[in-house]
């Protein structure tokens, strides 16, 4: 390897170890240390994100390091990715629904360093995971490598935590509108004598979420008529606490890494609304407390040269309580009517306990048997329980449901033609064992149909290929026959706003992707890169969320067949790491392909567009980074972004006159931020304004999102 190549590698590694401020290429001019002098030389290295995008699968990759210095949650960052749409129900800590290329959020699986995110407890989601510990996010669209041991149908989100070689301390505190506060601490310490590595993480966030609800209906003073007012949310407090300690060793003869960790997380959440904002709740709450213990082991050259073992095991004790013990009906001004129905379920009073123990074991064995040829065997065991008891409703009979999954994957990757052609093939076997104990509201939940236990086996398979014609043009395609088993939230509900539907069937889909990508180096530090991906998803037993308006409750149901076709694309321009402009757009067309109803009649919704889902959305972002502003070794980054989501119908588009139909209106959201860092990123201050134009925005029908808000964050990285 010559000096230039080594320099490229070194700089690439450097770029991975320190904040890069978003650019995909790294340019260096002038003097570099005392040993080497380059005159006007430009070297370029691909970031990990770029390399991932250029793999055989359709992948979106996101550098999160920069977000660590802002108060944005992971959901806000991911929402700006091509083909991704996140629908939030409210402010900080609210439930959300993520879709990838038109597939519903629950068709998507989430992983943290390859392990199911659920293993951190049901309360931990993209919305409250501490951003400071995250390095990057990989978003797999439709076709998911076997290494995840996953039954995802629409895609997978893999969150990669930061991995640094040196000791460090990272602390941040932010505050903002709606009484929002957030503090994060994480560090790494390696004992000089023992070599033991300790990685503590502590995170706390709180928000009252008391943003203004515009145009809501309340009673007049005489309580004889309704009037329209703008009023703040009054029962939406959210508190999240997260603590984790990881300890272990690295670079030993018997292990590249061996770590054990313990985790505790606590979420306290007031419940403000049902499935729509017309259903106002003023007393009900949900509390979740989770503990987790886990271990992971990594070893290269395991048993033989070229074989790598990754093994992990975790167990989570998860206990959530939904408090619904008041017979009241609230209005947005905080007044209420003493009624005869509980707030959430509209039935009797309940203090429902959900204990959801989860055990996850994952083994990944990779063997590179020749240059450019790799086989991998993966096994994932996931046992999740759902025990329900009620300490208020004496009529409730305790239940104990168990979901048991074994997923075995075998994959073969090859790199040919000097790396220009990459192929991947995989097969997955899913074994699903379900034991249903609950029988409450059997006509709604279907528990009468599925009482008892059952075991089923499904097989999935797929392949992907990428061919690099030139630097400016590469083509890739992938296919998967995928299976997605219903998750516990869909099968068993959430204890508050979602009914169980234990009769749900697994989703099965044929997923196709065909994409182009490339990079143009225009010289002078100007680069333009692009990627576009066309996709087809042919889904059977599509699982769709429906709303029981009367009761403000939701439930997941099967649609017998849904076909989704679409395209997304992104173009990025970068100038010398200073100016960065990116824009993406996504379109998908989802059609109900069920021809006959269950009673044998022609279905009137056959070939109609699936309702209540966004199908056209765009993002644009521009940023400029100034160097040495005010202080030496400082950076000032100004960013503005814009998001557009086209309006969509809540119900089937074809039926009824357009003027009579309920719609989720178009969103125009503009955000702006300023980030100033000095001492090489040691100190960081960010100021953000979200929803700059104070637009009235909805992700879901009659669920207003926050208006204009300001956030300030200080981060110290030592």
């Amino acid at each position: 390897m010559n000096i230039r190549n080594r320099l490229i590698v070194a700089l690439a590694l450097l770029g991975l170890c320190f904040p890069v401020y978003g650019q995909d290429s790294l340019s260096v001019k002038g003097t570099l240390g005392d040993t080497l002098t380059l005159q006007n030389a430009t070297v370029t290295a691909r970031s990990r994100e770029q390399k991932l995008r250029e793999g055989a699968f359709a992948v979106g990759a996101l550098n999160i390091r920069l977000q660590a210095s802002t108060l944005q949650s992971l959901t806000q960052a991911i929402d700006k990715t091509a083909g991704i749409r996140i629908r939030e129900e409210g402010g900080v800590g609210s439930d959300f629904d993520l879709s990838i290329n038109g597939m519903s959020g629950n068709s998507i699986r989430y992983f943290l360093d390859g392990m199911p995110l659920d293993a951190k407890g049901t309360g931990m989601t993209l919305a409250n995971l501490p951003v400071n510990i995250i390095d990057r996010v990989e978003i797999y669209k439709g076709v998911i490598p076997a290494s995840f041991g996953s039954d995802a149908l629409g895609g997978a989100v893999n969150i990669i935590t930061s991995s640094r070689a040196r000791n460090y301390l990272d602390f941040s505190y932010g505050m903002g509108s709606f009484h929002t506060h957030k503090a994060d601490f994480n560090a790494q310490y390696t004992g000089k004598k023992t070599g033991l590595v300790f990685k503590p993480v502590i995170s706390a966030s709180y928000s009252k979420n008391d943003y203004l609800m515009r145009g809501v209906k309340v009673r007049n003073e005489e309580r004889t008529a309704f009037v329209i007012k703008d009023l703040p949310r009054f029962h939406d407090d959210y508190l999240s606490l997260f603590g984790q300690l990881e300890a272990g060793v690295q670079d030993r003869s018997w292990a590249d890494a061996f770590f054990v960790s313990a985790l505790v997380s606590k979420i306290d959440k007031d419940i403000q609304t049902g499935a729509t904002q017309d259903h106002v709740i003023g007393m009900a709450e949900r509390h979740t407390l989770s503990y987790s213990a886990s271990a992971r082991y990594e070893k290269t050259d395991f048993l033989t040269e070229g074989m790598q073992l990754l093994a992990s095991l975790s167990h989570t004790w998860d206990h959530s309580v939904t408090v619904d013990t008041i017979y009241r009906m609230y209005y947005w001004d905080g007044s209420y009517m003493e009624g005869g129905k509980s707030e959430i379920r509209g039935r009797g009073k309940t203090l429902r306990h959900y204990r959801r123990p989860m055990t996850v074991a994952r083994t990944n064995l990779n063997y590179r048997f020749a240059e450019g040829h790799n086989v991998a065997l993966n096994y994932l065991l996931n046992r999740s329980g759902n025990q329900q008891t009620d300490t208020f409703d004496t009529d409730f009979e305790p239940t104990d449901d168990v979901l048991f999954k074994h997923i075995i994957g075998l994959s073969y990757d090859q790199s040919l033609l000097n790396g220009r052609l990459n192929n991947a093939f995989f097969v997955k076997d899913y074994v699903n064992h379900l034991k249903i104990g609950q029988n409450e509201l059997s006509t709604i939940t279907g528990s009468g149909q599925v009482n008892g236990s059952s075991t089923k086996n499904y097989v999935g398979y797929g392949a992907g290929s990428r061919y690099l014609l030139f630097e400016e043009l590469a083509v890739k395609g992938s296919y998967e026959h995928s299976i997605r088993l219903p998750i516990s939230r869909e099968l068993l509900g959430n204890g508050s706003t979602i009914y169980a539907n234990v009769a749900l069937k697994p989703e099965i889909s044929e997923n196709f992707n065909l994409g182009l990508f490339g990079t143009f180096d225009l010289g002078g530090g100007h680069t333009i890169s692009y990627e576009t991906n066309g996709f087809v998803r042919l889904v059977d037993n599509y699982i769709r969320a429906t709303v029981y308006e009367t009761e403000g409750m939701m439930q997941y149901v099967n649609e017998s067949a849904v076909h989704i076709k679409g395209v997304d694309g992104e173009i990025r321009y970068d100038w010398a790491g200073k100016l960065h402009v990116a824009a993406n757009a996504s379109f998908d067309d989802s059609r109900d392909m069920r021809k006959y109803t269950s009673s044998g009649d022609l279905s009137v919704t056959y070939k109609n567009r699936t309702p209540n889902r966004p199908w056209l959305y765009c993002n644009a972002e521009a940023s400029y980074t100034f160097s040495n502003v005010g202080l030496r070794d400082s950076r000032l980054r100004l960013t503005a972004d814009y998001q557009y989501v086209h309006w969509f119908y809540l119900t089937w588009a074809a039926f009824g006159s357009a003027s009579s139909k309920s719609k989720v209106p178009t969103q125009h959201l503009t955000n702006a931020s300023l980030l100033y860092s000095w001492r090489g990123g040691r100190y960081n201050v960010s100021l953000e304004c979200t929803n700059l134009l104070n637009s009235l925005a909805f992700d879901n029908y009659k669920m207003q999102k926050p208006g204009r808000a300001f956030f300030l964050k200080f981060r110290l990285f030592l």
């Binding site: 017979y327 009517m337 009624g339 009761e551 006959y596 279905s603 089937w652 039926f655 009579s660």
Partner: protein
């Protein structure tokens, strides 16, 4: 003829009863529209439909009219209003889908573009009582100037009522009925069924005592009749109905917001459709509270030898009624949408009944356990059938047949576009 029929009916009720004054011919309703409610994919009653509810308002249902289309036409009420509603004149009255704690009055009219549209005339909050959409029952009193709403709360253990002025929709009074869950039972029916009888100026509230809320096994229920003074809302009598007479009313969860299960004849005899268990199977039964009485005539059954459950009844005049009932023997395992329901004309004099026929052929079986696809207006019954024949789904259309109450002649009426579940016909004044 009418007088003779009424006389015969009265004789049949009780020989001791004085002959009522002859009733005038029913007033011919003019200038009315038909509002047709359909649902996509599944029938919509009891909130079973999650796929969309649509309504068209048309002036005629005769066969010379073009097929009623819903693609791009009509009103999508899915998110705002329930299929189940109180109607009077041109107005709809209901607790809407959205949980506002209020009560809404609206009507359907055409906008400048000629499209049907819903115009909300009023929305008022209740004072203290909280009702759930579609889970209440109602009656009109004071010459139909006052609307009484009744529902249950506290896990169906407490019966609440509210009175509203029809003109202003102001809540005039609210309270709780003096009805308790009987000893040995856990809950009352979700709404019960309320009706007002003009001849004795009393409210009749039919409700069930159940082992527990949501329990649906009729044999364990007991039907009660509470007679209520509409002025004070005091319960004057509260009588358990023997199981041999009726175990349950035909419906008990949403009053008559969708399906008709109570009717009156010209003599103001009160008829109630109900259930009784025969050899372990729930069967329909039609009982009558004769005018001047406050309990059922246990010797009279207007629905003998039932094939299955009696779902709806509507009085046609001249001692005849239209029934919508089930024959579960047609399928191995009947479900709510099974095509096992059919229409018959009941001769109330002797309980005999005959399937409604067109050109000598029985009208086809329909799906939709919770449907009210028939309406009686201006001496004609408009009877909708689903157009759902298994295996022939693409060739058949939902069709309305028109039964002449005077002559018994059935003619074919207007068709609806196929593929929808046809649920309700309502006749609405347009003035």
């Amino acid at each position: 003829m009418t007088i003779a029929m009424v006389s015969m009916l009265s004789m049949a009720v009780s020989c001791e009863e004085p002959e009522p004054e002859p009733e005038p011919e029913p007033e011919v309703v003019k200038d009315y529209n038909f509002d047709l409610f359909v649902c996509a994919t599944k029938h919509g009653g009891m909130s079973k439909n999650k796929y969309g509810t649509y309504v068209r308002s048309v002036s005629s249902l005769t066969a010379d009219q073009p097929r009623v289309e819903f693609t791009g036409k009509g009103i999508d009420i899915t998110e705002d209003y329930t299929l189940e509603s109180i109607t009077r004149g041109k107005y709809y009255y209901q607790v809407p889908q959205k949980s506002t704690g209020g009560f809404v009055k609206f009507h359907i009219e055409r906008n400048a573009a000629g499209e049907e549209t819903i115009v909300e005339d009023a929305e008022v909050p209740f004072k203290d009582n909280q009702y759930t959409a579609r889970k209440y029952t109602h009656a009109w009193i004071d010459d139909s100037t006052t609307l009484v709403i009744v529902g249950t709360v506290n896990k169906a253990t407490k019966v609440i009522w509210s009175k509203l002025s029809e003109s202003t929709m102001a809540v005039q009074a609210e309270g709780t009925l003096d009805i308790k869950v009987p000893e040995g039972f856990g809950a009352l029916s979700t709404s019960g069924v309320l009706t007002y009888r003009k001849s004795d100026k009393k409210l009749y509230y039919f409700y069930l005592a159940k082992r527990e809320s949501g329990q649906s096994d009729a044999v364990t229920s007991v039907t009660y009749i509470a007679v209520i003074d509409p002025a004070t809302m005091q319960v004057e009598s509260n009588t358990a109905v023997p199981a041999s007479v009726m175990e349950e009313t035909a419906g008990s969860a949403y009053g008559e917001l969708m399906q008709n299960m109570i009717m009156y004849d010209e003599a103001d005899n009160l008829y109630l459709a109900g259930l009784i268990t025969v050899n372990g199977t729930e069967m329909g039964i039609l009982r009558r509270i004769p005018a001047g009485h406050k309990t059922f005539d246990t010797t009279w059954n207007g629905f003998p030898n039932p094939e299955g459950k009696l779902l709806t009844i509507q009085y046609l005049g001249n001692g005849k009624a239209l029934s919508y009932s089930q024959d579960p023997s047609l399928v191995a395992k009947a479900s709510i949408d099974s095509k096992i329901n059919f229409y018959s004309i009941i001769n109330l004099a002797d309980g005999s009944r005959e399937r409604v026929k067109f050109n000598g052929v029985d009208l086809q079986y329909c799906g939709g356990r919770f449907s009210q696809r028939s309406v009686v207006v201006n001496n004609k019954a408009y009877i909708g059938v689903g157009g759902e024949v298994e295996g022939e789904a693409e060739e058949t259309y939902p069709t309305i047949y028109i039964y002449d109450c005077k002559t018994g002649v059935v003619e074919k009426g207007r068709e609806l576009s196929k593929g929808f579940c046809f649920d309700i016909i309502r006749a609405m004044d347009v003035k």
